[in-house]
């Protein structure tokens, strides 16, 4: 893949370099050039309307989308890739800690499902407003959709 006009244009590009790379980096819809007043002489290569990979749509892919399309590539069984090096889930049972104080929790409040370790914590939990209770449960990812 040869791009013969690259060199020619790079010599020409002088002070309006910053305008063109903004062209290069924004999608077709966001063509409004943002002329940045770069006083430094242009180390930026003047884009030749350059190959902005993956800019058919305006937004950048996020990691989930990138990984989804990576999965579709022809990997061999043993090839290392980003999703194959995810750590496995834990096999050991998780220890239970009190939501309020972090000590080992032997008890769970049946009404709010918060864990506690002492009687004082229990009375504290029973007096909490409901948004704080949901906050503690969400922190543990223990909010259940089914009531």
């Amino acid at each position: 893949m040869v791009k013969p006009d690259v060199q020619g244009i790079s010599m020409d590009g002088v002070s309006e370099n910053k305008m063109v790379p903004s062209d290069f980096s924004t999608g077709p819809m966001e063509k409004a050039a943002k002329p940045l007043p770069f006083k430094d002489p242009n180390f930026v290569h003047s884009g030749h309307g350059g190959a902005v990979a993956g800019k058919k749509n305006r937004t950048w892919k996020n990691l989930k989308q990138i990984l989804a399309s990576e999965r579709a590539l022809p990997w061999q069984l043993n090839d290392p890739n980003y999703f194959s090096i995810d750590a496995p889930p834990s096999f050991k049972p998780a220890k239970k800690y009190s939501d309020v104080s972090g000590l080992l929790a032997n008890y769970t409040d049946p009404q709010s499902k918060l864990r506690f370790s002492t009687i004082e914590e229990f009375s504290y939990i029973r007096r909490l407003p409901s948004d704080v209770v949901t906050g503690y449960l969400a922190l543990r990812k223990a909010t259940s959709i089914v009531p």
Binding site: G50, W60, N62, L73, P80, S90, A94, Y124
Partner: protein, 615 residues
């Protein structure tokens, strides 16, 4: 008791530094950048901080990377920033006011938004004083994620080669560069790297100097998740200070006041004891703010408002009374006129009028007249009264003050009540009194303190026990065991002799001891292992990359040149001792913009790319 608490309150109180970053100067490249060969630029592109500098050959390679800045940018607020557009890194000063506008090119540890990445690179090049025309004429050493997606490497190569026109680039992994820096160069070494950064933690086995990528593992927890966890914990404990508990302050607590417990359960038992608690709790002093409990008005403003409302109501009532009085008066007049008709003897008209009025007899008319005149009298009197009392009211009206108790937050002996005390003192709303009287009596300083007790060990513990935040992944110890079990026993032995801890999130006091303890638990009885913390866990990646660049300047096999990029596509990687493993899968090249403009259609992308590749 009071004396003890007064003394106790003064210890362990720490203010927040709330540091602001100073904007970076635009540095002159200086003679270091201009040698016979172009000098490589080393850029440690991290999700927390980007570090950039020159790799200068010669006797004095320079101490630190010239630029270290947070890898974030934010558009200036309301266009009031001199029209310069998005500001990057240290030019932002303090991050907190802009927290919701901060954008980072990273999603987890992979750069996905190359536009922002370009801004960061612009910033780095500009402030390092790159002065070549039309392109950046220096080889670049850039760090990337472990097993980074090919798409992301393609985008990065494209940005570097086509936008900046660099001659050649080398990609490497930051932890491997750190390993390179911390090990004697003349030996080909094997070892195990445990590297914990801002977004994730990696465990990387190295065999014969090369990364064994098949057996690496990554836990998706790092410094940012610890900061988020700490922030939520403190916000739930102190709902009144929601806005003051910012992520920057959480990072400060993590960096300076947290540690890793050697044995988590045992350490928690120690914290149960109230003396230990008092001696070790860190009370973070928030700056004083007069906004108590979400009320945005001071008490005087509240009184003013109440008085105004009262006055308005009274005026409304007075007006209504007057109107009613007028109506009644008219009706009364009419009825009296009808009665006069009766007295004058004009019976026909009288009867007609009665029918109009819907009444049956003169007696009814009479009684009605009486009632109405009584009502009119009453109304007149009331109006008079109201006018008089209105003046009296305005002078000394007091809003009703609820009678409230004030709790003094005293540190009691019962365990964990200490945690609850600040919450109790918040629950008593401010006492409303007319302004000129004594201020509420409770200890304002203690009200504005955050008691950080067990949170000091809970927040960093998430990388060892991800179940604390509900993550299903295994923690460091279990993952370490899983990886070691994939090797034969002699290789295991070899690997644990050289365990390196690197990365900013490894800098908690007590981390090394904890890892040693975990290894002791999982290794066979009386076998040996060696754990080493990197000399400078934060900057070692940059130093390693710089050393690597200087050592490999002449070695053409490790640099990806522009020709390689054009021939073999953006995902191409040349392997070296600190790089990822290259899996030769060709990505379909995305269509170029000029092709798109000509084709003026979106479907031509893949086919245009495919055709281009064949040529």
């Amino acid at each position: 008791m009071a004396a003890a608490t007064a003394a106790g309150l003064a210890t362990n109180v720490f203010p927040f530094r709330d540091a602001r970053a100073a904007p970076d100067p635009v540095l002159e490249a200086g003679p270091v950048a201009h040698g016979s060969l172009p000098v490589p630029l080393v850029l440690d592109n991290g999700s927390f901080q980007a570090r950039a500098g020159w790799a200068c050959p010669g006797p004095d390679p320079g101490p630190e990377p010239r630029l270290q800045f947070r890898a974030v940018c934010a558009r200036g607020r309301g266009g009031a920033r001199g029209g310069a557009g998005p500001q990057v890194g240290n030019a932002l000063g303090s991050l907190e006011p802009l927290r919701w506008m901060l954008r980072s090119p990273f999603d987890r540890n992979v750069p996905v938004n190359l536009e922002l990445q370009e801004l960061l690179l612009d910033y780095s090049f500009q402030h390092l004083g790159v002065s070549s025309q039309g392109c950046v004429d220096h080889p670049i050493v850039l760090t990337e994620a472990v097993c980074t997606p090919l798409y992301s490497r393609q985008m990065m190569s494209e940005l570097l080669f086509e936008c900046y026109g660099i001659p050649k680039v080398a990609y490497g992994i930051d932890s491997l560069f750190s390993f390179y820096h911390n090990n004697p160069k003349n030996m080909i070494s094997s070892g195990l790297i445990i590297s914990s950064g801002y977004q994730c933690t990696h465990i990387l086995p190295i065999l014969e100097g090369r990364l064994d990528a098949r057996n690496c593992k990554r836990i998706n927890l790092g410094g940012s998740q610890a900061a988020g966890y700490l922030q939520r914990l403190l916000q739930l404990k102190y709902p009144g200070h929601l806005a003051a508990i910012t992520l920057s302050r959480m990072e400060e607590i993590l960096h300076e006041h947290s540690y890793i417990a050697e044995d988590y359960v045992e350490e928690l038992q120690k914290w149960r004891c109230p003396d230990y608690y008092e001696n070790n709790v860190h009370k973070m002093q928030l700056p004083f703010s007069s906004k108590l409990l979400g009320s945005t008005l001071t008490s005087e403003e509240k009184q003013e408002r109440r008085q105004q409302q009262l006055r308005r109501l009274q005026e409304l009532n007075a007006r209504r009374r007057e109107e009613k009085l007028q109506l009644d008066q008219e009706r009364l007049d009419r009825l009296l006129y009808v009665q006069e008709l009766l007295e004058d003897g004009q019976m026909d008209q009288f009867h007609k009028a009665l029918i109009e009025l819907n009444m049956d007899s003169p007696e009814e008319l009479q009684s009605y007249i009486q009632k109405l005149s009584a009502a009119v009298e009453q109304a007149k009197q009331k109006i008079l009264q109201a006018e008089v009392s209105l003046e009296v009211d305005v002078v000394d009206s007091k809003p009703e003050t609820p009678d409230l108790e004030q709790l003094e937050p005293s540190l009691e002996d019962v365990e964990n009540i200490n945690d609850f005390e600040p919450l109790f003192s918040e629950e008593t709303p401010e006492v409303e009194k007319p302004v000129a009287t004594v201020q509420p009596v409770f200890n304002l300083a203690a009200y504005h303190q955050l008691f950080v007790g067990t949170e000091r060990i809970r927040a960093p513990e998430i990388i060892f026990q991800p179940s604390l935040i509900g993550e299903e992944q295994a923690g460091i110890a279990e993952t370490l065991q899983y990886i070691l079990d994939r090797y034969p026993k002699d290789v295991q032995e070899l690997l644990v002799q050289n365990v390196l801890l690197t990365g900013g999130n490894m800098m908690y006091p007590g981390m090394k001891v904890r890892i040693e303890k975990e290894l002791l638990e999982m290794r066979p009885f009386q076998s040996s292992f060696q754990v080493q913390l990197a000399a400078n866990p934060v900057l070692d990646a940059w130093y390693g990359a710089r050393d690597w660049a200087l050592d490999h300047l002449d070695n053409e096999d490790v640099w990806i040149t522009r020709k390689d990029y054009e021939e073999k596509g953006g995902g191409y990687l040349r392997e070296h001792c600190a790089s990822n493993v290259y899996v030769p899968i060709r990505l379909p090249k995305q269509a170029s913009r000029s092709a798109e403009a000509q084709a003026s259609g979106k479907g031509s992308g893949a086919s245009g790319g495919g055709a281009g590749e064949q040529a």
